[in-house]
């Protein structure tokens, strides 16, 4: 009898739980439904049609943050295009809509979403998923359906060495991450010849630094020291002691945030003075300066894009190329309004990918991916993100340059290339002893 009552209680509470779950699911469904974008009403004059750009993007999983920023960048670019006359092909004006799905940062999802975009949604222009791995997973399916795939978050060079024709790149490839810095050093001080490389043993940083080493040799640098450290390293002092003995002028290295910060910290502890340092990833974060204080002064690093770059219609005119898209101020304020913070570089590169499609479609005067791909071959324009120009054969980005940032007087300044810079490079950077005495760049 007693047991029976207990059983009833259990089953009652179970049904209650089910009911609660059903109600909450219904609520979420309701909320989600409301977020669905409404299609804009077509305007009366001329023939206006909607053109969809597909985007399998990571809104959850490990690339969720980067994915959300990218999607917002795409939306801002699409909105700007629509407000500035749309894309004109013949006598039809196309308004852009971004058709986005969440790939959860997973390779299996990317493949079925690309197929859905290409066949069910009939999308011909796809903005690639975030990261090199997912872009590589998307490429065979895009190639199969002959739709264009524009990589805005896949930097690795090997994507473009596999022979895919319909895959193009908007961001700078890994091989060009540290080359701008080397150009800058050479321009500032042709006598600084002794280069050292200390970097993380990871797929990405390896690709970056192996390409930088070859580029440095071409520029006439002498490689005096090169060593990798494993991911998650907590002590670099054995390597740095060897480095000190090699007596380099310039150092490039790093990998991710934690090891890049460790590298800077231990260089300071061991008082290894260099004329210039460029570290991958870490210096672009504000927390880098917060952690190191004025030890971070003068340390540089490459970035795809930064708030404050000087790419503008005037800069484009100086270079003799066309400007397309919103201005820096328009982009910044639109992003801030939507997301409540300053845009990270992922937003700018995704926006540039959307702009490049629009520009290429208008140039080709066709919605046929093969013709648009052909038109991309000699397309060159400047946007908030910088120059866009691809290598016709591989689709690799060759026009865009990495910007070099440097910490100067507690502020992150853009020092290279000259068309983007908002400050002069601080070269040579102050020594560790000078910094201990409170010296900063610019003081």
């Amino acid at each position: 009898m007693l047991k029976n009552v207990g059983g009833e209680n259990v089953s009652k509470s179970k049904w209650l739980l089910v009911a609660i779950l059903v109600v909450s699911t219904a609520l979420i469904l309701g909320c989600a439904q409301q977020q669905q974008p409404t299609t804009p009403a077509p305007s009366g004059e001329g023939k206006v049609e909607t053109l969809y750009f597909g985007a399998p993007i990571s809104l959850s999983g490990k690339f969720a943050e980067e994915g959300k920023a990218s999607l917002e960048g795409m939306k801002i670019a699409a909105k700007w295009i629509n407000e500035n006359g749309g894309i004109k092909v013949g006598d039809v004006t196309y308004k852009i809509e971004i058709k986005a799905y969440d790939d959860e940062s997973k390779k299996e999802n990317v493949q079925s979403l690309i197929e859905r975009l290409a066949t069910v949604d009939k999308v011909k222009f796809i903005l690639a998923p975030y990261s090199s791995g997912l872009t590589l997973a998307a490429a065979p399916i895009a190639e199969k359906y002959q739709v264009l795939l524009n990589s805005h978050g896949g930097a690795s060079d090997y994507i473009f060495e596999q022979g895919y024709y319909y895959v193009v790149q908007t961001l700078s490839p890994a091989s060009r991450y540290q080359t701008g810095f080397l150009d800058m050093v050479k321009a500032k001080d042709p006598n600084a010849k002794r280069l050292a490389l200390v970097y993380e043993d990871g797929e990405f940083s390896r690709a970056v630094h192996e390409a930088a080493r070859e580029y440095a040799k071409q520029l006439g640098f002498e490689i005096v020291y090169e060593k990798t450290y494993p991911a998650g390293a907590t002590d670099l002092s054995p390597i740095l002691n060897e480095l000190k003995a090699a007596n380099p002028d310039v150092l490039i290295g790093g990998g991710h945030f934690a090891d890049g910060q460790l590298l800077a910290k231990q260089l300071a502890e061991l008082k290894i003075d260099l004329k210039a340092i460029s570290i991958l990833v870490a210096p672009t974060f504000t927390s880098f300066y917060e952690a190191l204080g004025n030890k971070a002064e003068g340390i540089a690093g490459p970035a795809q894009w930064e708030v404050g770059v000087k790419y503008s219609p005037e800069a484009a005119e100086k270079l003799g190329i066309e400007w397309y898209g919103p201005t820096q101020e328009e982009f910044l304020s639109a992003y801030k309004e939507a997301m409540g913070e300053e845009p990270p570089y992922q937003a700018a590169e995704a926006a540039a990918a959307v702009l490049s499609y629009a520009k290429a479609i208008e140039k080709a005067q066709s919605l046929d991916p093969a013709k648009v791909r052909e038109a991309m071959n000699d397309l060159e324009f400047m946007s908030i993100y910088g120059v866009w120009k691809i290598d016709p054969e591989t689709g690799k980005q060759i026009g865009h340059e990495m910007v070099i940032i440097q910490w100067q007087n507690g502020e992150k300044k853009i020092v290279w290339p000259e068309s983007a810079a908002n400050a002069e490079p601080c070269y040579p950077m102050p020594t560790w002893d000078e910094k201990e005495g409170g010296a900063t760049c610019g003081s």
Binding site: A32, A137, P140
Partner: protein, 327 residues
């Protein structure tokens, strides 16, 4: 009494899925996603469902299988297409066999939760072995599409990564089902179910529990290796260590087995269908919100069918003429 009729149901489900995938535009990749999840569930079920032991290192077997195929195609390309592919399958099976013998030989001496704890680091361990030892391309992984295109031509590469990879995965998935059915009908299966219910009692009855568990473990692992070789290496044409040793696949496989019904033939099929289709359509209808909606739905299913959907159906079908077809 040996009963193989549930295989009819199984094959019927596959036939319907393949017909939908081929007949409706844009459905082929989603169907392959479903079959991937079914295969992953089916292979895990042979061990988890039959013994009640949770193998948290499961994804490591998919990973080594993927590497086996990638090494053969990437490093022995000169052998020619057919020999390299054959070598790939052999290496996938061999690597999965070695890993499962080593892991099983050690960890299967432990019981219940302790076994789960012992296996939880296997995928991380192998990942860091490849990264730290710089073997098989280390952190750079193996990217095959360019190599295959150069060696065998673009057409062959496309055939390999689309038609052949998909067909291979379907064969592996169905094979896992047939093996499950065979085990359920065999002395091995009865022994495993006995040890799942009460390991000590099974031991007293004269069942060599260590050996039985090991056999189930090795079979489950080899099938997982074959899934990695087809669904990952051949289909995606690349292998990165961070990608193939990600633990979320283990968790998804466990969810699918539990959802459909552990220890049943059709459980992983139903579980895979529910899980993959729900997720796919929620992704399309509510991009970015799908996981938030999926989670309560899964909890509801588990609450309503504590023994899994197929466990419930098998009970409901008892005494009716459908009894023979559900297991």
């Amino acid at each position: 009494m040996r009963n193989y009729t549930p295989l009819v149901t199984l094959l019927l489900i596959y036939a319907v899925m393949i017909a939908i995938g081929q007949g409706i535009q844009g459905m082929w990749q989603p169907i392959m996603l479903v079959i991937f999840y079914i295969a992953v569930g089916q292979a895990l079920n042979i061990f988890l469902g039959m013994t009640g032991y949770v193998n948290f290192g499961y994804v490591a077997l998919l990973g080594v299988g993927a590497y086996g195929m990638a090494v053969a195609l990437g490093y022995y390309t000169d052998l020619g297409l057919i020999p390299a592919l054959t070598l790939g399958f052999i290496l996938a099976i061999l690597l999965a066999f070695i890993v499962s013998m080593v892991v099983g030989g050690i960890a299967l001496r432990l019981r219940g939760a302790y076994f789960a704890i012992a296996t939880i680091g296997v995928n991380e361990g192998i990942k860091y072995l490849i990264l730290g030892g710089k073997i098989w391309g280390g952190s750079s992984g193996i990217v095959l599409s360019g190599i295959l295109r150069k060696a065998y031509g673009a057409e062959t590469m496309r055939f390999l990564s689309t038609v052949f990879a998909d067909a291979g995965l379907i064969v592996v998935a169905i094979l896992s089902g047939i093996i499950t059915m065979y085990i359920l009908n065999s002395r091995l299966g009865y022994g495993l179910i006995a040890l799942r219910e009460d390991e000590d009692a099974a031991k007293v009855m004269g069942i060599n529990v260590r050996r039985y568990k090991q056999i189930a473990f090795v079979i489950s692992c080899i099938l997982a290796g074959l899934i990695g070789a087809t669904a990952w290496t051949l289909k995606l044409t690349y292998v990165f260590p961070q990608d193939v040793f990600a633990i979320n696949y283990t968790v998804e496989a466990i969810v699918i087995v539990m959802l459909g019904g552990a220890g049943t033939l059709l459980g992983p099929v139903v579980g895979g269908l529910i899980y993959a289709l729900l997720k796919y359509y929620l992704t399309i209808a509510f991009p970015g919100m799908q996981l938030l909606i999926l989670a309560p739905l899964l909890i509801i299913v588990i609450l309503l069918f504590p023994e899994g959907v197929v466990g419930y159906l098998a009970k409901a079908a008892r005494g009716t003429r459908f009894e023979k077809f559900v297991r």
